[in-house]
């Protein structure tokens, strides 16, 4: 069954800002990452899927339903975690999640039961009777996850769920998301501007930029083709680049004064870099195998590169 689709989805805000520009895609159930720089249109896309915004043109479907036409039907089946703070401070997590469950139509007793269960799932069982003003950012994010799950949705939409978390909290949140998707059989659409995070938990990725689809594919398809060699020379990077290009390699700048040389299985790139540096008499200061990560798909298509620690190249000992 098709999870969601967008057909020429366009959203222009009253102020004139074009947030989505003919976005077209189709997705199967699973753990889906939605990446893009800030302002790429991720949140707008999610809000349209929730029926909170009405697109200016085009059509979207969620679980086979049109969120503009049947918002209630759609929202009953979706859990949503907004990117910003959205929790009241003067109530306990248990009361709040129970209340939210009732807002989704769960009877009082079931609501209370599910709330406790979800808070246990996200690791807040002990703290559930405390008012939320004393919660840390990590705890608040987990309450937000619990409220999105409490009515047992078929699809979770998580908008930047790791925002503001420290590395440990980030890891825990990603692990929770991964488990929710894989073990519970709930499809997850998780947005992030950090590609590394998406790569860790998702099996499918859609990249959008400027409101347009850059790519949509399984994660494996992105990473397989992206092994590269990071090359740095003390000076004369331009010369080396010209030499390597002449030798038939598709060399790129890494944006920090170094070069990125695509690395095929035959390992020929190593030899060529060595030969080029020797011939030009350039001092080679770094020769390292890197695994291109998802940000390279933006470079390939001329899109903006999302920034953030998770998007950095992973260094592997060469």
């Amino acid at each position: 069954m098709q999870l969601l689709s967008a057909d020429e989805l366009t959203m222009r805000y009253p102020g004139g800002v074009l947030a989505l520009d003919g976005l077209t895609l189709e997705l199967e159930p699973g753990l889906i990452g939605l990446v893009g720089a800030n302002g790429a249109g991720k949140s707008t896309f999610i809000k349209i899927l929730l029926g909170l915004l009405r697109p200016t043109a085009g059509r979207a479907t969620v679980l086979g339903l049109d969120p503009s036409a049947e918002p209630i039907e759609v929202r009953q089946r979706i859990g949503y975690l907004p990117e910003h703070d959205c929790l009241p401070t003067d109530v306990s997590a248990a009361d709040f999640i129970t209340h939210m469950a009732r807002m989704s139509g769960l009877p009082r007793a079931s609501a209370r039961e599910r709330a406790a269960e979800m808070l246990r799932h996200v690791g807040l069982y002990e703290a559930r009777y405390r008012t939320m003003d004393g919660y840390s950012t990590g705890m608040k994010q987990r309450v937000k996850l619990a409220q999105s799950l409490v009515h047992d949705p078929q699809l979770l939409m998580l908008d930047e769920p790791t925002n503001g978390l420290d590395p440990a909290g980030r890891d825990q949140m990603l692990e929770l998301i991964r488990r929710t998707g894989h073990r519970f059989g709930i499809s997850v659409l998780v947005s992030s501007h950090l590609l590394g995070e998406i790569e860790r938990v998702c099996d499918h990725l859609i990249a959008i930029d400027g409101g347009r689809l850059v790519r949509s594919a399984r994660i494996g398809a992105f990473t397989a083709q992206t092994a590269a060699l990071a090359v740095e020379v003390d000076h004369g990077a331009g010369q080396l680049r010209a030499w390597l290009t002449a030798a038939g390699l598709n060399v790129e700048d890494d944006g920090k004064g170094g070069l990125l040389v695509p690395l095929a299985d035959d390992g020929l790139a190593y030899d060529l870099v060595r030969d080029g540096a020797t011939e030009l008499g350039l001092p080679l200061v770094r020769l390292q195998r890197t695994r291109h990560q998802l940000q390279d798909l933006f470079r390939a298509t001329g899109g903006r590169v999302p920034v953030g620690s998770g998007a950095a190249h992973t260094q592997e000992p060469s």
Binding site: L52, R75, Y80, P82, M103, P107, H121, V122, S136, D171
Partner: protein, 296 residues
């Protein structure tokens, strides 16, 4: 909170996930639940003693005068009559204004300040459903405060008589204007203060705005009434919503125009009713417009 450093995430939370197969009661139930939740927060129920102090004190201030009056009626045989059905609300209008100013922001502004609004709108609720539940909760809360004292006055009249049944039969026709006027007061104070409070996410600002509106409109209405001559004058008075309610109460309780500060030979009572209705319609329209546009 669990200590993530000590324990492995994989083992803590992993005790299985149960899908929910139970009843889903849908939109009407969600609206009802939100209404009940709202009514509880009007009186700060379950929020601890400190949060409950303001509604408790203001509630007492709205109701106790009626209790004293009822006792006075009974013991002095009607000699002391400070509060009547028709002047009760107007005499204590500031208490009701304070109550609305403290409760409307609790209901309308808080969800905007904490940005919880989007969690409601992302559920099986329409924006109008949310507004309806919240405003009805406030109206019901105010209604409890407007109807109770009038009912106490009513029982004061009945129980001060030696023949209870006869007294009841004599007084009973007044139950219609008692409920009618309390309902109109609650509707108007509730919608107007909810509409004002809904325009700011800041609770204190919302409270000041509601209170300021009720106080300033009186001043503005008085200035306009005095500075403008002619037939417009009597309509200017209606710019003060409390004035409109006072006139409405005098009208439905058929106060002698000679004793009324609102009714006169040339002033009919209906206009007060029309004015009250106008306030409710305007405020409701403002609420709907506000929540259609409110940013989530």
């Amino acid at each position: 909170m669990l200590e993530p450093a000590k324990t492995e995430t994989g083992t803590i939370y992993d005790i299985g996930y149960q899908h929910y197969d139970g009843a889903r009661l849908g939109r009407p139930y969600a609206v009802w639940s939100l209404f009940v939740h709202g009514l509880a927060s009007v009186f700060a129920l379950g929020r601890g003693l400190r949060a409950g102090l303001i509604p408790l004190v203001l509630g007492a201030a709205a109701i106790l005068p009626a209790a004293f009056q009822a006792l006075a009626t009974a013991y002095t045989d009607g000699l002391i009559e400070l509060f009547t059905y028709s002047n009760y609300f107007i005499s204590l209008s500031m208490v009701f204004a304070f109550f609305c100013a403290s409760r409307a922001p609790e209901l309308m502004s808080a969800d905007q300040r904490t940005r919880t609004l989007v969690l409601y709108f992302a559920r099986a609720l329409h924006r109008e459903d949310y507004v309806l539940a919240k405003v009805l909760a406030l109206i019901t809360g105010v209604l409890l405060l407007t109807a109770t004292p009038l009912l106490i006055l009513f029982s004061g009249h009945v129980f001060s008589s030696t023949d209870l049944w006869a007294a009841f039969r004599e007084e009973a026709p007044l139950l219609v204007p008692i409920f009618g006027s309390s309902l109109v007061m609650a509707l108007m104070m509730g919608t107007v203060s909810a509409a004002i409070a809904s325009f700011t996410p800041r609770r204190s600002l919302a409270a000041a705005a509601v209170l300021g509106y009720f106080m300033l409109s009186k001043v503005v209405a008085e200035i306009l009434t005095e500075s403008i001559n002619g037939s417009w004058t009597q309509w200017m008075e209606l710019l003060d919503p409390i004035n409109a309610l006072g006139g409405f109460a005098d009208w439905v309780f058929e106060t002698d125009p000679a004793l009324s500060q609102y009714l006169g030979a040339d002033v009919s009572g209906q206009r007060f009713g029309i004015a009250c209705l106008g306030y409710v319609i305007l405020a409701s329209a403002a609420l709907v417009a506000r929540y259609r546009k409110v940013a989530t």
